[in-house]
């Protein structure tokens, strides 16, 4: 019964849309014998692109392309949406997988000579698709609006500006305004989600149409390019040897390869995308922009061309390489597709591929040493202060503001400074601004600068943290301790080895009332300003400040 209904619906559709013929045309594609695993890469790419479209649409449900909200909305996706981090991981690593699959696809086409006559246009549309994929990667990179995004885009637009004659025009179109900002973000977003997808769909359709028109090139064992075996008519389906139908034989290989790639992608994405960096900040000094790995080769190339020659590294060489690749079908016109008889084109491609690989490796290795990662006393003290009620009254889960910590800081340094010196500025009349002194604000700023970079405070004993907090509030204006970094004042003595000179009891007497110990002392008395607990932890901690190897660090 049910079967009857399906058949009748099928017949109804067949009479009106001719779908059975269309399906046959799609699935019974004749493939030359010997077409194997190497020929699954196109389908893998198609699957990865489709997945990228789905994850992209899902991300766009939440993402807001404005400088005020882009970073926060991406953070929201990462931290607050169910499976949001996984979703962003899929989209992020999906891009990487697509670049790898596209590169392998190009290698396969070159090795098999599949670009040769009559498939020149298939090759050119493929190269155009490669550029579209890279444009996707570039435009997508800006959207999270973090430091990495901002500075990579600064470099990208400045490279575009180097183009002879039209450089400034192109850079202006990319920027949308005099500087990188709100207008740039909306432009790149529109390119990423509307313009590029439209171009991609058109090019993929053209690429597939051309692929079907000339058939799969297949292995190089046959003489000629195989086109003579192929009737140009679309209707005639040959599936007798030396051909076999796409479905289900090659389709099973394609699906297997795609499933393997998707499994790898899921494994990569399970820990989410690399964490967001601090929000874009044009004033951040010494930020070290690094591009995504597939642009490292170009990044490295730029280092070799000084001064006026930079246009050579940025535009001329990449342009020539692209031109050479585009011309491969016209360079490679010998009688055979056998790689052994195509030395010149393969040598050209090999040199290009090896150079790109070597540059990428050099760019990968040529990374700066990580900045000093040890937390200073001021930073640790600031972290302790940030967990005080003065901050957490508002900055708490479910409070009027987000909790403060690594990965949650979205404001730039100037804003934070203003907020700390005058919390009223943000929420006038909402509450009494918390009391704080200048040193506390400096410590908080030091901590927040650290937290903006996504660093977590080191795991220290509670007593140490308390002591460092007291030190950061009362002592650091005049004293320094070596392990606290270059931070601290020089009016008082360096306390790096104070534990070797005085025991805690003596330190307590001195700190409580210096003049009682030495009538000439210039240091103010802290006996009444420190609580009993604070005094005890401070002198115990100071007593532990000794020269290495026993420097008192836990």
């Amino acid at each position: 019964m049910a079967r009857d209904v399906f058949i009748r619906i099928g017949n109804w559709l067949e009479n009106r849309a001719g779908w059975r013929a269309a399906r046959r045309h799609l699935l019974d594609e004749p493939l030359p014998a010997g077409t194997g695993w190497w020929f699954t890469l196109g389908s893998v790419l198609l699957a990865a692109l489709a997945l990228q479209a789905v994850t992209g649409v899902l991300l766009s449900l939440t993402y807001a392309p404005t400088p005020d909200h882009a970073h926060e909305s991406v953070r929201y996706i990462d931290q607050s949406i169910r499976a949001g981090a996984f979703l962003r991981g899929l989209h992020y690593y999906g891009a990487t997988i697509i670049v790898i699959a596209a590169a392998l696809h190009v290698v396969r086409v070159v090795v098999f000579g599949a670009y040769r006559k009559p498939r020149e246009l298939t090759w050119l549309t493929g190269l155009a698709l490669l550029l579209v994929i890279l444009a996707f990667a570039l435009t997508g990179y800006l959207l999270p609006w973090d430091q990495r995004a901002y500075w990579a885009t600064v470099v990208t637009i400045n490279i575009a500006a180097l183009t002879p004659v039209v450089g400034e025009l192109v850079a202006g179109i990319m920027r949308g305004g005099p500087e990188i900002g709100a207008l740039t973000l909306t432009r790149w977003y529109a390119a990423h989600v509307i313009v590029l997808p439209a171009i991609l769909v058109l090019l993929v359709a053209l690429h597939l149409y051309l692929m079907r028109r000339h058939g799969i090139s297949g292995p190089w064992g046959r003489k000629g390019d195989g086109s003579e075996l192929f009737p140009r008519s679309h209707r005639i389906i040959q599936t007798r040897p030396p051909f076999f139908p796409f479905y289900p034989y090659q389709a099973a290989r394609d699906v297997t390869a795609a499933l393997i790639v998707i499994a790898i992608l899921i494994a990569l994405a399970s820990r989410g995308a690399p964490p967001l960096e601090p929000v874009a900040d044009p004033a951040e000094a010494g930020y070290m922009p690094r591009p995504e790995w597939y642009f490292l080769g170009l990044f490295q190339l730029l280092k070799y061309f000084p001064g006026r020659l930079e246009v050579v590294g940025a535009i001329v060489i990449p342009g020539l390489v692209l031109l050479l690749l585009a011309l491969l079908p016209w360079i490679d016109r010998g009688p055979s597709r056998d790689p052994a008889e195509r030395r010149l084109p393969l040598a050209i491609f090999g040199v290009i591929a090896l150079s790109l690989g070597a540059l990428t490796a050099a760019g990968w290795r040529d990374r700066p040493p990580p900045a000093d990662s040890e937390w200073t006393i001021r930073e640790v003290g600031g972290a302790a202060m940030a967990s005080d009620v003065a901050c957490t009254r508002c900055h708490a889960d479910g409070g009027v503001a987000d909790p403060v910590g690594p990965g949650t800081i979205t404001r730039d340094a100037a804003w934070i400074e203003g907020h700390l010196f005058d919390p009223e500025m943000i929420a006038p009349g909402l509450r009494e601004p918390p009391e704080s002194n200048e040193r506390e604000i400096e410590a908080l700023l030091a901590f927040l600068a650290r937290a903006r970079r996504g660093d977590r405070p080191p795991p220290l004993a509670h007593a140490d943290v308390t002591a460092m907090r007291v030190f950061a509030r009362f002592c650091i204006g005049c004293h320094r301790i070596e392990k606290g970094g270059r931070d601290g004042g020089d009016e008082g003595p360096d306390l790096s080895n104070i534990g070797q000179k005085h025991d805690p009891a003596a330190l307590r007497r001195w700190i409580a009332d210096p003049e009682a110990v030495n009538a000439d002392a210039e240091m103010p008395a802290f006996g009444t300003r420190l609580s009993e607990d604070e005094m005890t932890t401070l002198v115990e901690w100071l007593g532990g400040q000794r020269a290495a190897p026993n420097d008192g660090r836990e």
């Binding site: 400088p67 470099v155 305004g177 500087e179 900002g181 709100a182 044009p282 000094a285 010494g286 700066p368």
Partner: protein, 158 residues
């Protein structure tokens, strides 16, 4: 040449269709160009307070962040810029932009090595902003600066 009225009619209509499509295409391209190419905008430079003169050390480039209000399309942005201020021997202040002339990254002052360094592509400048090595095509751009000794303020024109 044909005097066949049907043929000339067909030729006329065909010209009409092609002409209309070409015009429509050109109009769409012109509109896209009009929207996509941003109008040139020149922002007038303004003198802005950058630092307290007494905070600067003689002969040491000190980075200061100077924030100016900018219109960024519909977005009113406060744009921070980093300027290096150096007190010269005659108690004047020399100001240098901290933007690398290569590809626009932010240079920083390496005091022990006595030079500015760009983290992106290894551009190096001396304390006067002249290129020492690496890819930068031009010295660090100077910024006009003046000192108001009465108020202990350094102003820069950005």
């Amino acid at each position: 040449m044909s005097s066949d009225p049907l043929a000339s009619r067909r030729r006329l209509l065909s010209w009409f269709v092609r002409g209309a499509l070409t015009t429509a295409g050109a109009a769409v391209a012109a509109l896209a160009g009009l929207i996509a190419v941003p109008a040139a905008s020149v922002r007038a430079r303004r003198w802005t307070r950058a630092a307290r003169f007494s905070d600067l050390e003689p002969n040491v480039p000190t980075p200061v962040i100077v924030t100016t209000a900018r219109r960024d399309g519909w977005h009113r942005a406060r744009r921070p810029q980093v300027i290096f201020l150096t007190v010269t021997r005659d108690d004047q202040v020399r100001a240098l932009s901290a933007t690398c002339t290569h590809l626009g990254c932010r240079v920083s002052w390496n005091a022990p090595a006595d030079r500015f360094e760009c983290p992106c592509h290894r551009g190096v400048y001396d304390r006067d902003g002249r290129v020492v090595s690496g890819p930068p095509p031009a010295p660090l751009p100077p910024v006009a600066a003046r000192v108001d000794f009465a108020r202990d303020e350094v102003h820069v024109e950005i």
